[in-house]
C-alpha cells in the first residue's frame, strides 16, 4: 500500500508491506522493519531495529495524531494511488462551535451559507487579553451564526453551527 505523508514540514512517499506479522515500511531510500504489537485501543508497542517505541495513534479532524514520548505529531496521510486524504474523523449531523473561554467576539469571518474547509478561521474572539481565531473543526456549510461583532459571550456559549 502506498501513502503520501506529511508532518511538521516533512513530506514522504511511504510504502507498507506485511510479512510474517511484521511491517516493512519504505520511506525514501530507507526501509524500516516494524514489529508491531497492539497494547490498547489507540496504543501499540513498536520495535524497530532493536529500538522500542511506545506509541499512540488516533484519527483527528485533520488527519492522524501520533504521540511518541511526550511529542505530538500531526500527520497528514493520503492514499497515494487515489489521492484521497485519510484519517479525518467524519461527524454525523451539524457541528456546534461553542465559546472555549469567556470573552468578546471581535470579528465574524464567515456568513451563513458559506462553505468552509476544516481548519478555516470563522470567528475572532478576544479573551484573556489576547485575540484568538476560532477554526472550523471540519468542512461544511455555515448554517447559523448566533453572535455579533462586539458581543460578550460566556464560556460554553453557542456561537455558530456548521452543517
Amino acid at each position: 500500500m502506498f501513502f503520501d505523508a506529511a508532518t511538521g514540514g516533512k513530506n514522504a512517499r511511504i510504502e507498507v508491506r506485511e510479512a510474517q506479522g511484521r511491517y516493512q515500511v519504505t520511506i525514501g531510500d530507507k526501509t524500516l522493519d516494524l514489529d508491531w504489537v497492539r497494547t490498547g485501543e489507540h496504543e501499540a508497542s513498536v520495535l524497530l531495529d532493536g529500538a522500542s517505541h511506545d506509541i499512540t495513534v488516533e484519527k483527528t479532524a485533520e488527519g492522524f495524531a501520533v504521540l511518541i514520548r511526550g511529542d505530538r505529531f500531526d500527520v497528514d496521510l493520503k492514499d497515494a494511488v487515489k489521492g484521497v486524504a485519510l484519517g479525518k474523523v467524519a461527524h454525523a449531523g451539524p457541528l456546534k462551535l461553542n465559546a472555549p473561554m469567556p470573552g468578546k467576539i471581535v470579528k465574524v469571518l464567515v456568513s451563513p451559507g458559506d462553505t468552509v474547509e476544516a481548519g478555516r478561521g470563522v470567528l475572532v474572539m478576544e479573551a484573556m487579553k489576547m485575540e484568538n481565531e476560532l477554526k472550523a473543526a471540519r468542512a461544511g456549510t455555515i448554517q447559523e451564526i448566533r453572535v455579533k461583532e462586539g458581543q460578550a459571550v460566556e464560556m460554553g456559549a453557542l456561537l455558530l453551527i456548521i452543517g
Binding site: 507498507v16 530507507k30 489507540h42 501499540a44 517505541h53 488516533e58 474523523v89 484568538n132 460554553g156
Partner: protein, 504 residues
C-alpha cells in the same frame, strides 16, 4: 477509624480536580463528603468520588456552582457542618463567607472581613503600605492632569508604566524608560485610553522589568498563630495565567526567602487573617520584592508546597476551621528537595493555548517515584466546555532542581492522553529549554518560547510510518471476512463505518 473530628461531613462547593483533592483529604480524615453538580457534571469524577452528590442546576456556573442559596440549602439538608469552596467560584466571595456564617455553617477559609480587606487589590495594597510591606511604587488614584503625572513620576522613579485607569486588554499601556520620553508617552496613552474607554485618566506605577512572579504560602489559626511555608516560583505563564510552578524558586536566596516570609507573616497578623492564604509578589532583577495582592484561598499550585514541606495544606485548612491551633511553629518547617507542577490543560499549545474540550479516549497516568497526579478526569470522560480547561496537575518531587526537572520530563513522557489536545507536548519543550534548566526566565518565557523554532522533527519519519501502518492494519481488517468468533479485531469492522475508527 481515624481519630474522631469535629466535622462529620463537609460540602465541597466546587468541581474538577480541586473538588477531588479536597474529598481525598476528607476521606483520609474520616469526614463524609457532599458533592454538588451541574447538568454537565453528572458523570464527573468529583461526583463519583463523593459520599453523597446533589444536583444543583444547568451547566453555566452562574446557574449552578455560583448559586449561593442553592448550595447553602444542600449543605443544610445534607447535614454538612462546613463548606470547602476550593479555588475560583465562591472561594473569594465575602458575601458567601458571611452567608455561611449566618446559616450556622463553617466556611473553610478566612472570615468575610479578611476577604474584604485582602481580596480587593487597592484595599490590600493600602493595608500592606500600613504594615510596612513594600508595594510597587505608584499612585493609588487616577491622575487626570499632566502636571500631577510629572510630579508623581519624579517621586516614583524610572522606568515607569502608564496605565489607563478604565483600562484592560493592554490598551493605554505605556512603558517609559527615561524622563525625557514621559510627556510624549502621556499624550499617546491618553489618546488611546480616550478612544478605547472614553476616559483619559491614567494610573502611574514603577515598571518592574523582567519581573519574577513569586508567592508566599501562609497558614494562620484562630489563636493568633501564623507561619509561612516558603515560596513558590510562578513566572511561567500563558494567557497571563500560571502554567508551570516550582518550589523553591531558583531565583530566591535564603535572605530573600526569610525577608519575604517575615513580610507575609506580618501582613497576615496585621489583618487578623485565619486559614490558608497566599501573598503574591513581583520581584525585580535586584531581588527587591513588591507585594502585589493576596489570594484568600487555597491555590491551584498548593501541591508543590506540600511536597517540599511535608505539610498537607487541605487537612490544615480543615483543622484550622475546626478551631485547632497550628500543630507546628515556624522553626519546625523546612524545605526538603524540589517540586515542580505542570498544569495539564485541555488546550492547544500550538494555537495560543485555546481551550480544547472533548472526550478523553486514552488516559495513561505516569507512576513511580516522586510523581503526584491530581486529576479531575478519567478515561472516557467528556471534558465539558463550560469550565476551566485544567484536567490535571502533574507534580514531581526530587532531591534537587535538576533531578526534579528530569523527573518531570520523564513523567511527561509517560503521560498519554488521546482524544483531545493538551499542554503536555508544550511541557516537553519548555522543560528541556536551556533557559528553563538554568533557571534564567521571567514572565515572558512562554511568549518567547513560542517564537522559537520548533525542533520536534526528531521522530517525524517514525510518526509518518506509524500513521501509515495503522491505516494499513485497519484496511486489512476491514477487508477480512468478519467473524465474531475469530478475533476481537473484526468486531469493529462489521459496522460498515469503516474509515471512522482507528484501531491499532
Amino acid at each position: 477509624m481515624p481519630s474522631p473530628r469535629k466535622f462529620k461531613k463537609i460540602l465541597i462547593a466546587n468541581r474538577g480536580e480541586i473538588a477531588v483533592r479536597v474529598m481525598r483529604a476528607c476521606r483520609e480524615l474520616g469526614i463524609g463528603t457532599v458533592a454538588v453538580y451541574s447538568e454537565a457534571d453528572r458523570a464527573a469524577l468529583h461526583v463519583r468520588y463523593a459520599d453523597e452528590a446533589c444536583f444543583i442546576g444547568p451547566p453555566p456556573s452562574r446557574d449552578s456552582y455560583l448559586k449561593m442559596e442553592t448550595i447553602l440549602d444542600v449543605a443544610k439538608r445534607s447535614g454538612a457542618e462546613a463548606i470547602h469552596p476550593g479555588y475560583g467560584f465562591l472561594s473569594e466571595n465575602a458575601a458567601f463567607a458571611k452567608a455561611c456564617k449566618d446559616a450556622g455553617i463553617v466556611f473553610i477559609g478566612p472570615p468575610a472581613e479578611a476577604i474584604t480587606a485582602m481580596g480587593e487589590k487597592t484595599s490590600a495594597r493600602r493595608v500592606a503600605v500600613e504594615a510596612g510591606v513594600p508595594v510597587v511604587p505608584g499612585a493609588l488614584h487616577p491622575l487626570a492632569d499632566n502636571e500631577a503625572i510629572l510630579k508623581e513620576a519624579q517621586r516614583i522613579g524610572f522606568p515607569l508604566m502608564l496605565k489607563a485607569a478604565a483600562g484592560g486588554g493592554g490598551k493605554g499601556l505605556r512603558l517609559v524608560h527615561e524622563p525625557g520620553d514621559l510627556e510624549a508617552a502621556v499624550l499617546r496613552a491618553r489618546s488611546e485610553a480616550k478612544s478605547a474607554f472614553n476616559d483619559d485618566s491614567l494610573y502611574i506605577e514603577r515598571a518592574i522589568l523582567k519581573p519574577r512572579h513569586i508567592e508566599i504560602q501562609v497558614l494562620a489559626d484562630g489563636h493568633g498563630n501564623a507561619v509561612h511555608l516558603f515560596e513558590r516560583e510562578c513566572s511561567i505563564q500563558r494567557r497571563h495565567q500560571k502554567i508551570i510552578e516550582e518550589s523553591p524558586s531558583p531565583f530566591v536566596t535564603p535572605e530573600l526567602r526569610e525577608r519575604m516570609g517575615a513580610l507575609a507573616v506580618a501582613l497576615v497578623k496585621k489583618v487578623g487573617y485565619v486559614n490558608a492564604g497566599t501573598l503574591e509578589f513581583l520581584v525585580d532583577e535586584n531581588r527587591e520584592p513588591y507585594f502585589l495582592e493576596m489570594n484568600t484561598r487555597l491555590q491551584v499550585e498548593h501541591p508543590i508546597t506540600e511536597m517540599v514541606t511535608g505539610v498537607d495544606l487541605v487537612k490544615m485548612q480543615i483543622r484550622i476551621a475546626e478551631g485547632e491551633p497550628l500543630p507546628f511553629a515556624q522553626k519546625d518547617l523546612t524545605q526538603r528537595g524540589h517540586a515542580i507542577e505542570c498544569r495539564v490543560c485541555a488546550e492547544d499549545p500550538d494555537a495560543n493555548f485555546i481551550p480544547n474540550p472533548g472526550k478523553i479516549e486514552t488516559l495513561r497516568v505516569p507512576g513511580g517515584p516522586g510523581i503526584r497526579d491530581d486529576s479531575g478526569v478519567y478515561e472516557g470522560f467528556e471534558v465539558p466546555m463550560f469550565y476551566d480547561p485544567l484536567i490535571s496537575k502533574l507534580v514531581v518531587h526530587a532531591e534537587n532542581r535538576e533531578a526534579a526537572i528530569f523527573r518531570m520530563l520523564r513523567a511527561v513522557s509517560e503521560y498519554k492522553i488521546t482524544g483531545i489536545k493538551t499542554t503536555l507536548p508544550f511541557f516537553d519543550r519548555a522543560l528541556r529549554h536551556p533557559k528553563f534548566i538554568e533557571g534564567d526566565f521571567d514572565t515572558s518565557f512562554v511568549g518567547r518560547l513560542q517564537g522559537e523554532n520548533d525542533d520536534r522533527t526528531r521522530a517525524a519519519e517514525l510518526a509518518m510510518a506509524i500513521a501509515a501502518v495503522a491505516t494499513y492494519r485497519a484496511r486489512r481488517r476491514s477487508r477480512a471476512e468478519p467473524d465474531a468468533g475469530k478475533g476481537e479485531g473484526s468486531l469493529w469492522w462489521r459496522l460498515g463505518n469503516r474509515d471512522t475508527v482507528t484501531r491499532l
